[in-house]
Subunit: 280 residues, 2 copies
């Protein structure tokens, strides 16, 4: 089910720049325990993305009211919000800001039936051949230009493989197709720098704060596959899965280690108590 600018709809104008050029942003939000999980964090990232693309940020209160309207009665679900630059003529040049009317799409999806065992026992990952291009203007934000992820996700059909890791064009490991990557080495938590490419996940932020609160040393940098291979522990994160330990990447095996377990417990607590949630 969809809302377009607050009204039930099934279609969008063929003149929308979201279709023409992927000229917009999105957020994927967990709806659970009668809450829009990490709502204010999602709104902050959406605002940052709008600023980066010079799209007027939609009023968060209106987005919230429309979200509540769409998900009314849902106990567990996925809410996706898409913001595009709205309609425009042919050509890359965007309408002037005063003439820009962003489109707001709210979409409701069933909660994906991820096996519970993924978080307990860990998942299997592979490396993707498709790379992430380097673009500092687009790095970090959750924009609609996602062909790199689409191509990378098309590389495997083996249902036992839960995620594929992507390298950038400089051979650094950046993230999964739909998740961020963390690993542990000698008691330090490490995660790739997303200044050049990748999506700065909401759950990635939550995990960084948890590391800080729990005095777990955190390092953000550029890492090669060889660095990941030598990791003591490895896990991936996103707003829907929370955290999945990685028990195998290609031929390398990893334990579900103590730091991963500590962070999983803290994230699962935050998913109930974080101040940035909104009740539905």
């Amino acid at each position: 089910m969809f809302l377009l600018n607050g009204e039930v709809a099934e279609t969008l104008s063929l003149e929308d720049r979201g279709l023409m050029y992927g000229d917009g942003l999105f957020e994927t939000i967990a709806v659970r325990n009668q809450q829009l999980e990490f709502w204010q964090r999602h709104m902050q990232r959406l605002h940052d993305g709008c600023q980066r693309l010079n799209i007027p940020t939609p009023d968060p209160q209106r987005l919230l009211a429309e979200a509540r309207q769409l998900i009314s009665g849902q106990t567990i679900a996925v809410l996706k919000i898409i913001i595009t630059r709205g309609q425009g003529g042919r050509g890359y040049r965007a309408p002037e800001l005063a003439q820009t009317n962003p489109s707001r799409v709210h979409a409701l999806y069933d909660w994906p039936d991820y096996p519970n065992i993924n978080q307990k026992e860990g998942v299997i990952l592979r490396y993707c051949r498709n790379r992430l291009g380097i673009n500092v203007s687009l790095a970090g934000i959750k924009h609609l230009n996602r062909l790199e992820q689409v191509l990378a996700r098309s590389e495997w059909n083996d249902e036992t493989i839960s995620e594929g890791l992507m390298l950038d064009s400089n051979d650094y490991v950046i993230e999964g197709t739909m998740s961020n990557l963390f690993f542990v080495k000698d008691g330090t938590l490490l995660t790739p720098d997303l200044s050049n490419s990748g999506v700065a996940g909401i759950m990635r932020d939550v995990i960084q704060e948890i590391a800080h609160k729990n005095h777990i040393p955190l390092e953000i940098g550029y890492y090669l596959p060889a660095d990941i291979n030598n990791a003591d522990e490895l896990f991936i994160s996103n707003s829907l899965i929370g955290i999945w330990p990685v028990r195998q990447l290609e031929q390398q095996h990893y334990p579900v280690g103590p730091i991963t377990q500590k962070i999983i417990a803290a994230v699962n607590a935050d998913r109930i108590t974080d101040e940035s949630h909104e009740a539905i």
Copy 2:
């Protein structure tokens, strides 16, 4: 005016992956002299792009029939064709090929009123700060992930500047936001290699063939701004503008030189006689 899958339409499904992820391709075709200019070349590039993205290529005869239906009675116009992977659920994973029903959009636009003087006396260009990411899987094809071009085109509003040149993340000059780049040095025609990024324009192909036929030496490579600065002649090309000589790039001035003039004359002849046109 728009056709969606051959029917007059104004909107597209909100579940279309063209909107969700920019998961598709487009062609921009000149309609002139009762012809769809370079039609078969456009269809070939569209086919190449569909193969690269693993989207079933729509039947070119059906695309042609729908194009004729839309542009009936037009003497000069722009036809844009968009092909997306069609509808799909949430998530990057594409539907299996047998379940994929690509969406076909035909859009008709007024011919842009480019000043005639652009081709005769040349235009002014600038360099953009926004860069092109490197991605060999996406380089060359005209896919719908165009935020890099949108951001680059938003860098200037000065109407006297006709185009901005974009560098890749390795500092090589690749192309304009909406055009390909050629330059002349010591009698040789040079154009950037598009193996890592950029769009391989139809007009760029035509120009390469014209150079070959006219025994003008052609070199394809990776060039820095310093190489462009030292050029004897400089021009840009696309399917609508044909060729525009560049008379100024930033503070550097260039003449409308003999090789540029020779190629302009040959392209303008091809735009009437090329075998790949289709009558409307």
